[in-house]
Symmetry: C2
């Protein structure tokens, strides 16, 4: 049974792409077969893994120019379907198209060979983000413990409620993932306490992804932190997270 | 002559909103009259300044329910026109509307009393972001010196070229603004050097906005760093930036 997970946060720069790559790789290292799907027209995930030129992209798959399985490429012990800026125009042309929210859900039925499919989303409520939330069984919300992130979380939860009501009743938030966690900062502790108290009905992962410069450096080598700096906090944290994800029981 | 400045970066979480508030306040402290315009449907700027409930928003102005000048509210020695999530639906309904890119440009003609108008944009190439780029004389691009920011800059520059060609020939990049700058990190120096070399034709502000936790804490009091912690690096850096902006000569 393929576990389909959307990595979402409408707030920008909260570590969605960094999580897609490193969590994906950690799950693959446990022997699972993992597909990463870039659904951000800015193609940050594709850029990270050096998969953004001379490749078929998710736009081509959606347009029917190539099948989903033939668009998959190998990077970093992972399989990935890239995205590029053509996805932006495609999203515009899909406005008003009936059933446009189900495009990705239907396409992913062609890939039952995967244990996990992780979808990296853009920081907006775009057609592709709505597709990801409609196709997903679970969502992971990476979140910085900072004041301006709180409003983003409120908006994200309202979005999830709407999607559950109108498009995907079985959608579930697997967890909030505190990211770029710096326990020495007082503001980090205050925001964390506020979120735990205000959203006590939501699950927060036990794993906190700590600030780690190795996670920032790894993309310049096109590698996950596991290939680049496997002994660091970043690698430990994402492996710990992967264990939580793989053993997650509704 | 009102200087209209868009604060843009399609990459998320690069300090756009933080810059809009603190640069705006620094310019106002020099005796200039400053208007902040929130053009992000997520309303982060409005949330920051406690201007996101029971207020008229830019949506109401666009729909003609209230005039631009009557929607302006006072916060933190600044004047602001807030935004809220209704802007998202409005953007969708504007798709295909002729001249939709000029809506903000035309509205801002009603506010010649301002010396500076700063527009805070969302991390996407939305209808409102295109409006900001069409209305602006100058743009400031806040940028983290990290690997994944580089691709965002490439995309941003392509966007600017397209807007100059089709919608706003006099649009000018006032400068790239290095942000959350941490000079101890080797990756920061590498990315900075790469950008200076690759984009030598672009102006980079002399001011680098350093990492400062006071900039992170200030929003929980609804204050700029000038009201909250005026003796810190964050305040010094934004005042230094304000001097560069105000003396900027094409
Ligand atoms: N745990 C971490 N420690 C330190 N830096 C990190 C960490 N996670 C991510 N970063 C850095 O923070 C920046 C933002 O991360 P990333 O691009 O993954 O976020 P995002 O949510 O995908 O952004 P966007 O909203 O633009 O898609 C990147 O430069 C990344 O290298
Ligand atoms: N110089 C700085 N030092 C430390 N933290 C900073 C600095 N500037 C901004 N931040 C923090 O980084 C986070 C992102 O900043 P901000 O929300 O202003 O970026 P943004 O580009 O407006 O994001 P979005 O793309 O979501 O609109 C915030 O939590 C903010 O407090
Ligand atoms: Mg991303
Ligand atoms: Mg913002």
């Amino acid at each position: 049974m393929t576990q389909i997970i959307a990595i979402v946060n409408q707030k920008g720069g909260t570590g969605k792409t960094t999580t897609a790559v490193n969590l994906g790789r950690a799950i693959a290292d446990m022997g699972k077969r993992v597909l990463l799907l870039d659904l951000d027209p800015q193609g940050s995930l594709s850029y990270y893994l050096g998969a953004n030129s001379n490749v078929w992209t998710i736009s081509d798959v959606i347009l029917g120019d190539i099948s989903l399985n033939n668009a998959i490429i190998q990077r970093e012990n992972l399989e990935i379907i890239p995205a590029d800026i053509s996805l932006a125009d495609l999203e515009v042309s899909l406005a008003g198209y009936p059933q446009r929210e189900y495009i990705i859900k239907k396409l992913l039925l062609q890939a039952p060979q995967y244990d996990y499919i992780l979808m990296d989303c853009s920081p907006s409520l775009s057609v592709m983000t709505i597709n990801a939330l409609t196709a997903a069984k679970y969502i992971i919300i990476p979140l910085q413990m900072e004041v301006l992130s709180i409003h983003g979380l409120e908006l994200m939860l309202e979005t999830v409620e709407r999607i559950k009501k109108n498009l995907n009743p079985t959608l579930e938030i697997m967890g909030i993932l505190p990211l770029m966690y710096d326990r020495k900062r007082r503001i980090t502790q205050e925001v964390l306490a506020h979120i735990v108290k205000t959203y006590s009905f939501l699950y927060m992962f036990d794993t906190l992804i700590r600030m780690d410069v190795k996670l920032v450096e790894a993309p310049s080598y096109g590698k996950s932190v596991f290939s680049y700096a496997p002994e660091t906090n970043g690698a430990q944290d994402y492996m710990k997270l992967a264990k939580e994800v793989v053993t997650y029981d509704d």
